[in-house]
Amino acid sequence: MFTWLHKMGSPPVLYRFAERAAPWCKWAAFVLLAAGLVGGLVLSPPDYQQGDGFRIIYIHVPAAIMSLLVFGYMAVASATGLIWRLRMAHAVTAAAAPIGAAFTFLALVTGSLWGKPMWGTYWVWDARLTSELILLFIYLGYIAVVNAFPDQRTGDRAGAILALVGAVDIPIVHYSVQWWTTLHQGATLKLSGSSMATSMLWPLLTMMVAFLLYFCWLLSLRVRTEILHRERRATWVMRLAENGDS
């Protein structure tokens, strides 16, 4: 495990790994996405209360889960980068941040589109909406910091500190906002069992895995660009650019 991680610290090795992983993630993500969408939009019955409106959860819930998961991933990668001084860990974090921000934005937009017919308003200052919005601002802050420094390495490590502080802060934000007010429905999925019909549940779980793989695909693409940009002075990148292929 650690030797594998250690090898991934080398830019060309990580580059080729991402190159090989990308198509697998892509096809798996699209197959599951198709299955989840058919299951969610066609096969599952309309909700007895919300009618067809509930179907937006097949995008909304996976996006919201990914928005948190990506931040957790960034925090772990940042810690790895700070502790073992792995430059590639920072490259991965920097590559993941815009994707996480996009998931957060998607969760907010789909939530707000759902809110209009269900709650009668696009936006309410509800606990989860608010904490998701704060999460978006934390993502944007991270991206701003990483790009603010003229020196890449300083920016990386400054961003890593921010990601770690943010990772400690996000649960606090989440619970304090929850204490503040709550209108959002409670969690449907629980470890002890869910309050959802199986025909509605399996497409949701499929979509979650699909989103995760979709993230892996985007990440592998972005990581490669990030590595090429960072290592643009390295001989292997120059050779790659000349020959068009490694």
Partner: protein, 220 residues
């Protein structure tokens, strides 16, 4: 050495009172705008007062943050502090304390004045003060971390608030609501406990994070 450092911080502020007083003056002036912009009516201002006080206190807290390390960075004092045998974490904690005494404490006192002017009943003003006493140091500590991170950046004054404000929202929530709860006849103790918990957490973790941040941004 740490006591000397605190003395130095306070002395610098004392010698240049204009700079040190800016946040509290900003706090008072901005609070004055709300009655003008909303309504001078007591029944309207009273329920809004806790929120106004806390939001403006946060914005005032953003103002002096660049002072914290910038001058030391420019004249090389910071390098000496980094080289000092004392743990950098403690040095930063002392600097943060000095900064809070100079800029935070006046805002806490100003908060009592503003609360009275926004028609918060006299017996609840003490909850405003307790809340601010517990909450503003958290803001200073987070601000210290961000100031350490951005000390070498020219656009730090713009970037700082964007980074800090989302992270301190829990303090705002519990701070403003402690007074609101009290004014509604409920006990604010729970909110105070949450604020105290956040203060302890940030006082124990953030100076260490600031120390790492300072070393990183100083190297760059």
């Amino acid at each position: 050495m740490l006591r000397e450092l605190l003395r130095r911080e306070l002395l610098i502020a004392w010698r240049r009172p204009g700079e040190a007083m800016t946040p509290v003056v900003f706090f008072l002036v901005t609070s004055m705008l709300f009655p003008l912009g909303l309504s001078p009516d007591a029944s309207m201002l009273r329920p809004l007062a806790p929120g106004i006080i806390w939001v403006v206190a946060f914005l005032a807290g953003m103002l002096g943050l660049q002072r914290l390390f910038r001058a030391d960075y420019e004249d090389g004092t910071l390098e000496q502090l980094l080289l000092s045998p004392r743990p950098l974490t403690l040095i930063i904690l002392v600097k943060a304390m000095g900064h809070w005494l100079v800029t935070g404490l006046p805002v806490v006192i100003g908060g009592a004045v503003v609360a009275a002017m926004l028609f918060v009943p006299a017996r609840y003003i003490v909850t405003v003060v307790i809340g601010l006493l517990l909450g503003t140091p958290v803001l200073t500590l987070l601000g210290t971390m961000v100031a350490a991170l951005t000390v070498s950046l020219r656009q730090a004054s713009v970037l700082g608030p964007v980074l800090i404000l989302p992270l301190v929202t829990p303090v705002l929530i519990f701070g403003a609501h402690s007074t609101t709860l009290a004014m509604q006849g409920q006990s604010p103790v729970q909110a105070f406990e949450a604020l105290a918990a956040m203060l302890i957490l940030s006082a124990s973790l953030l100076p260490a994070a600031s120390a790492v941040a300072l070393r990183i941004s100083h190297e760059g």
